[in-house]
């Protein structure tokens, strides 16, 4: 560096004193342990809930628990809670764009037979004969999903 003494350093117009320090939040070990425990509990919860037969409510419940665990990891383990606001904005806008991608695509797939009933999706039985991929019919004896031999 050609200057003799360290220049008054500016960033975006504001002078900066400590050229050397890095000001970052250091959270105590106890907060990590608490979050870790919560994550284990939530995992056990979602594992247990899967055995109860919730029918089609099981997807939303699993998603809520997963979001809870994800937000715990993001806020504490990834320091989003104490971080520069722009990183949070980047993370939230990513989730927003993933949501846009999902909603429009799934909306289209659900509305296909809204106007013309027979436009709904169907798929032929003779699958992949071009690749010689022929699932044989199950023999009468074996009920669907039988636990086969090794």
């Amino acid at each position: 560096m050609s200057e003799a003494t360290a220049p008054k350093v500016f960033i975006a117009g504001k002078p900066v004193e400590g050229v050397h320090e890095v000001h970052e939040h250091v959270s105590p070990i106890s907060s990590y342990v608490k979050v870790f425990g919560a994550l284990l509990v939530l995992t056990a919860l979602t594992y247990g809930v899967s055995y109860m037969d919730l029918g089609n409510a099981s997807l939303p419940v699993a998603m809520i628990v997963a979001f809870a665990k994800a937000s715990l990891v993001c806020m504490y383990f990834m320091h989003l809670k104490y971080d520069d606001r722009y990183n949070v904005f980047v993370f939230i806008s990513t989730i927003l764009f993933v949501a846009i991608f999902f909603t429009f695509t799934i909306f289209d797939l659900m509305q296909r037979d809204a106007v013309n009933p027979e436009q709904d999706t169907f798929f032929r039985a003779n699958f992949g004969e071009a690749f010689g991929f022929q699932p044989p019919e199950p023999p009468e004896g074996a009920e669907a999903g039988g636990h086969g031999h090794e």
Partner: protein
């Protein structure tokens, strides 16, 4: 000044009858309006065109005027200190927004009319396949047309589309309709022809080598002639006094064999039929055999059984589309091709 004559001399004369010319109204006009949708689609097209011309003349006119009025006359020519003008900027965002909403609404209404078929429409099932259309009429079983669709005038027709292999697109410019034929599902499009005549049918979604050959003709006939023409088109039998080979040649063109097999020796997607009868062929699996009646019959019904070496197994099976005497007629026709 028609430059095409300059180049037509080079192109070999095409033997097939010239396909219909939808754009009779000269180079700048839209195709003929031959369906109930056409007038409204053209009206929307014209409305957007007028809006675009006005704004285009406005933009380019202003640019040209400013270029002339404010060209640099002296190196230190003073310029205005305007940096923005809230009112003007609001106007030139609000007015386009309103006009755009108007375009959207009108176009959306017209689209919804195009999409909901009336219940009393004639049903036609069209199947797109690598490089030809097959139309079937559930109301007249046994009628099967290749690259041809016969529809009555003034009666709504609902076309249910599917495809055997890749995505094709059922496009009739004169009716202003287009719908993709997606493999693995049905899609529907409907129209009501208003003018008798022949109109072009194109495949608009890229589907491989012969994508541009996958053309057809839509015959619009008055109602009374429609039934008779359909019957006649469906019937593909030996006429009195017609030789078996001539009947075979009719099948060759009607069933779309010409799309892949030429009769003058040039190999297209399939081997040429010139001098094929009785010749020896080596097949893809290394074995070889003589091209006799059984081989031809087998190749028509199960094309992938013995594929000639160097060709891809792309031929669809014609099981149920060709009866026995039609196949014998085809064999007779092949014998004549030395």
């Amino acid at each position: 000044m028609n430059l095409s004559t300059l180049f037509l001399a080079m192109a070999p004369a095409k033997d097939a009858p010239l396909p219909p010319n939808d754009a009779k109204g000269g180079p700048w006009s839209m195709p003929i309006q031959a369906s109930t949708f056409a007038p409204e689609t053209d009206a929307i097209y014209l409305f957007i065109l007028v809006l675009c011309l006005i704004s285009f003349v406005g933009i380019i006119g202003a640019t040209l005027y400013f270029m002339r009025a404010y060209r640099r006359r002296s190196p230190d020519q003073k310029t205005s200190s305007i940096t923005h003008n809230g009112k003007v900027e609001f106007l030139w965002s609000a007015i386009p927004a309103v006009l755009l909403v108007v375009i959207f609404l009108w176009s959306e209404v017209a689209f919804m009319k195009q999409v909901v078929p009336p219940s009393d429409a004639i049903d036609i099932r069209v199947k797109g396949q690598k490089w030809f259309w097959t139309a079937e009429y559930p109301a007249n079983p046994g009628v099967q047309l290749n690259n041809e669709i016969i529809v009555p005038v003034g009666v709504p027709v609902r076309v249910t589309l599917t495809s055997e292999d890749v995505i094709h697109s059922f496009f009739i410019p004169a009716f202003r309709i287009k719908r993709d034929a997606v493999p693995g599902r049905y899609t529907t499009v409907w129209f009501e022809a208003t003018r008798p005549g022949d109109y072009n049918l194109f495949c608009a979604e890229y589907c491989g080598d012969q994508h541009s050959e996958m053309r057809g003709v839509v015959h619009v006939l008055p109602l009374d002639e429609y039934e008779a023409a359909l019957e006649e088109a469906g019937r593909l039998e030996l006429e009195q006094g017609e030789s078996l080979a001539a009947f075979g040649e009719r099948i060759y063109t009607r069933k779309g064999c010409n799309a892949c097999h030429s009769t003058d020796g040039t190999t297209k997607t399939g081997p040429s039929w010139k001098g094929i009868y009785g010749a020896d062929r080596t097949f893809a699996d290394g074995s070889s055999g003589k091209v006799d009646d059984n081989y031809i019959r087998e190749s028509i019904l199960e094309p992938n059984a013995k594929v000639v070496a160097g060709f891809t197994p792309q031929m669809p099976s014609f099981q149920g589309q060709l009866n026995d005497d039609q196949i014998t007629a085809l064999i007779e026709f092949m014998k004549t091709l030395k």
